[in-house]
C-alpha cells in the first residue's frame, strides 16, 4: 500500500475539527429557542472533543500496528496523534468557553461545586496543559524533561471526560460507554508487538 505523505496527516485532524465546529454551529442556528441553541452548541462541541480525544488515544495503538506492516510511517502516526490532540484541546476549549458564557452564565462558583462540572473543568485543564506542551519549540524553551509522564495524562483526561459525560444532564449513556469501550479495545493493540 502506498505510504501517505507525512505532512498531510495532521490536516485530516484539523479538517475534521473545522467540519465538526461548522456542523455544530449550523445545528445550533437551526434551533429557535435560545436555551436549546446554546445547549446544542455545548453538547455538539462536547461530543466533538470527546470523540477527538478518543481518536487521539486510538491513533498510537492503531498506527503502531499499521506502521509495523509498513502501511504507515511512524512519524506520520506521531504527527496525526499530535494533530488530533491539538484539535481535541481546541474543541474542548470551545466547549468550555460556551459552557461558561452561556449555560453557567455568571455562576462560575459552580465550577468546583458540582461534580460533573468539576470533572469537565479538570479534563479541560489537562488538555490545555497538553496542548501548550505539544509544540517542540515551547517544550525546549520550558526545558521540559518529563514529557511522557505529562502527556500520559491524556488517559486521565479521557477518564475525567467520560465521568463528566456520564453524570452530566444530557449525554446518552450508551454513547459514552460505546466510546469508552472502543478506546479500551483499541488500547489492547498496545500489547501487539
Amino acid at each position: 500500500m502506498k505510504t501517505r505523505p507525512p505532512r498531510r496527516a495532521p490536516w485530516v485532524a484539523y479538517g475534521l475539527g473545522v467540519v465538526a465546529l461548522g456542523g455544530v454551529a449550523a445545528l445550533g442556528l437551526s434551533a429557535p429557542w435560545d436555551f436549546e441553541r446554546q445547549l446544542l452548541w455545548i453538547r455538539g462541541t462536547a461530543w466533538s472533543a470527546f470523540i477527538g480525544l478518543a481518536l487521539t488515544l486510538c491513533v498510537s495503538p492503531v498506527g503502531r500496528v499499521l506502521a509495523k506492516r509498513k502501511w504507515f510511517k511512524r512519524a506520520s502516526v506521531d504527527r496525526l496523534r499530535r494533530a488530533f490532540g491539538i484539535t481535541t484541546a481546541a474543541l474542548a476549549t470551545a466547549h468550555a468557553a460556551l459552557g461558561l458564557t452561556t449555560y453557567l452564565g455568571d455562576s462560575w462558583h459552580l465550577l468546583l461545586e458540582l461534580a460533573w462540572v468539576r470533572s469537565g473543568l479538570l479534563a479541560w485543564s489537562v488538555l490545555l496543559a497538553l496542548w501548550l506542551t505539544s509544540y517542540p519549540a515551547l517544550v525546549k524553551r520550558l526545558r521540559i524533561k518529563l514529557w511522557k509522564p505529562l502527556h500520559r495524562l491524556a488517559f486521565v483526561a479521557f477518564a475525567l471526560a467520560a465521568h463528566h459525560a456520564l453524570i452530566s444532564p444530557f449525554a446518552p449513556r450508551d454513547w459514552v460507554f460505546g466510546t469508552v469501550a472502543v478506546v479500551a479495545a483499541v488500547a489492547l493493540l498496545r500489547a501487539v508487538r
Binding site: 455562576s107 460533573w116 495524562l153 453524570i167 449513556r173
Partner: protein, 735 residues
Amino acid sequence: MRGWRSQLAVILLAGALWSLYPKANALGLLSAYALAWLILSAARALLPGLFAVELTSTQTVLISLIVAVPPLARATELRSRFLVGEHLEGFEHQLDSRRWLEQTPAIFPPLISADRPQTFYVHAPEASEVSLRVPGPDAISVEATSLGRGLFRLEIDPRELELPARAERLDIELLVDGRPHAREMRFERRLPHPRWLRPSAERSHVVAVSEETDTAYLIDRDARTETIATGDGPVDAWFEGDAAHPDAIVIAHRYDQNLSYVGGGRDQTLDLGCPPVRMAIRGDTTAVVCEGETPELVVLRAREIRRRVTLDYVPQWVALTAAHIVVSSAVPAALHRYERDGSPSGPPLQLGRPPVTMAGDDTTVHVAVTDLQLDGPPHLGNHFIRDQLLRVDVASWRVSHARLTADRTPRQGAPGDLDRGISPMGIDLAPDGALWVAFAGSDDVWRYADGDTLPRRFETEDHPLTTPISAVAMSGGRFAVSSATYGTVGVFSADGELMRLTRFAPGDDELLSEDQHALQLRIGERGFFEGTRSGVSCQSCHPAEASDQTVHNIGDTTLIATLDTRGLYGTPPYLRDGGFPMVGSFDELADTLYRGFLRHQRGRRVSLDTYVTSLPRPTPYRQATGRDDERERRGVEAFVTARCPLCHAFPAFTNLSQHPAAVLFGPEQAARLGSAELDVPTLLGLGQSAPYLLDGRAETLRSVFADHDPAARHGDIAALDERALDDLIYLLEGL
C-alpha cells in the same frame, strides 16, 4: 530515569504528596500528580546527578511498595468519601435507570403493582401501534393510546391481566407495530393491610379494610373473624348503624367509585360518581369525601345522596358531630366546617400542618397533627415535628385543648431521647368518654380516660402488632388494635393482655421461608413508620407514604416542599437536589441527625429502599373518569413545541438529570433556594402534587410558567399560544 521508571516516580511521589494532604476527589489527586511532576521536573533540571543513580528492578519494586503503602491506606480510608464527592455512590442504580429510559421502546414506570389500576407511558419513536402483553397461556394484550410524537399511554387494570400470585420480576412484551420487545418489570403484590378499625354501635364488632387486597375484615370482641371480598380499592368501612340496618357495613371503594352496603339483609351498591377517600357515619347521616379533579363532599341519608358539595381543596379526613360535618385538608392545612346538610359553616380553622387522622363525637373532633400554628405558617426549625392531639370544639370552632404526645421513658438512651407517643395514627372516641390513640412510630396505644391528663399506656411491640394504625374500644372493657404492616388485628382484655391475635397475612417465620421479598418489604414498611429518638419518622412528613404538602426547613438552609414517596422506583437519584443515590440512604440521616431509630434493625437501609421503591404512584384520576385524548394529543404537541422533553424526556417525563439551580431560575432565585443543583423530577403524578417547584412557591401549574421562570429557561413557553398552553396544562394535570 527513563521510560516507565520516570512515570512510576511521578505516580509514587504524587501518591505520597496526596497522602500528606488527602482530598477525596479527582481534583486532589490531579493536583498531587501535577505537583509531583513539577517537583521531579525541577529536580531533574537542577540536580541531574541525583537521577544518575541506577536501581535494580528488585530495588525499584521494593521502594515502590514501601512508598505506595501510605497513599493506598489513605485511599482505602477515604474511598466512600471519594465516591460521594464525585457522584459515584449508587451510580449503577442511576445508570440502570437512565439506560432503561434510553432504550426504546421504553416503558415507565418499570413497576407493575397488582393492587390498583395504573397508567404507563411508552416511548416508541416512529411507531403507530403499541400494546403490552404478559406472556402466558391466556395472554391478554392491552392496547396503548397514541398521543403522538412517539408517546403512547397504556392504562392497565391488573384484574384483567393474568398476573402471578407471587413474583418479584415480571416478564412482559411490548408489541410495537406487531414486533415484540421483551422487558422485565418489577412486580409487587402486597399482603393484606387492615388499617383503621371502625366499631359497631354496641362496640361488639370492628371492621377494617385492606385496600391492597380488596378485602374487609369483620372482627368481634372474642376475635372471631370474617373476611369479606370487596370491590376495587376499599378505602374505608363503617357500620351503617341506623335503626333500619344496624349490622350492615358500608364500604367505600376508591377505584369503583361507589359505596357497597353489605349484610344486614339488604346488600346494595350506590354509585358515588367520584373516588372516595374517607367516610364517616353518625345516626342516619353518612358523609363521604372524594378526591379527583373536582373534589366533593357527598352527604347521604337513608342510602340516598342528599347533597354534593364541590370543594376547592383536596379533602383527606371527615368526621361527624351531632350538628356538623368537619373535613380536613392538607392545602390549606386546615379543618373545614359544614352543617349536617352540607352547607358551609364559617371559615376554615388553620392548623399549620395537615391532620394525620381525625375522629368526632357529639360536640368535638379530635385531630392528630405534627405541629400547630393557628395564626401563620408552621414552625420552621430544621425538620420540626411536634406530634400532638388537638381537641377542637366544633360549635365555637376553636382548638380547646392541645396535648403533646412524643414522650420519654426511663429506657431513653441519652438525655432528651423520645421513645413513646410518636406518630399518632388512629384515634377513637369511646362511649365512656375515653380517648384511644395508636402510635405507629413507637408501637404503643394510649388510653386517656375522660378528664385524665396522663394516659394509660399499652405496648404492642412484643406482639406482631408493631406499627399500630388503629386502637378501638370494644364492649366489656376490651380493645382492638390493628397493624397494617403485619396484617394483624389483636383483641386485648381491659388490663392490656392480648387475648387473641388474628393474622390476615403470613407471619415473619413463614415469609422467611417462603417469601423473603415480602418480609423485606414488611421490615422496610416498619422502618418507614418507626420513630427516631428525636421523635421524627418518615411518616411524620409523608403521611400514608405521600406528602404532607407543606414546606419544611430542611438542613436549616431553605424551605423545601415535601415530596411524595410514591412512584419513586426507577427515578434515582432522590431528593430535590438529587443528593441521595438510594432511598435507603435516609437511614444515615436518621443515625446522624435524628439520634437513630428506636430499634436496631439489620439491613434497614436495603429494606427501607425496597419498601419505598415498591410504592406505586397514585392512580391518575382520569384513568377512572375518562380522558379527552384529542386534547392530550394537542398537549403532547405543545409539550414538544415548548421543548420540555429536553429534560422531561419521554416516557418518564424526566431524563433523570440534575441542573444547577442558577441555570434554570437565575442566580437570585438560586441563592434564595440555597440548593446548587436541582434534580429534574418526573412529571407523572403532577396533578396531585401541588404546590410546585422546590420550595412550593408556585401554587398552580400555570404559575410555574407565568410567574416563576425569570430566565425563560424552563421551557420555550413563548412558543405556545394561550390555547396550546391550556392543552399543555391539561396534559400535565392528567399524567
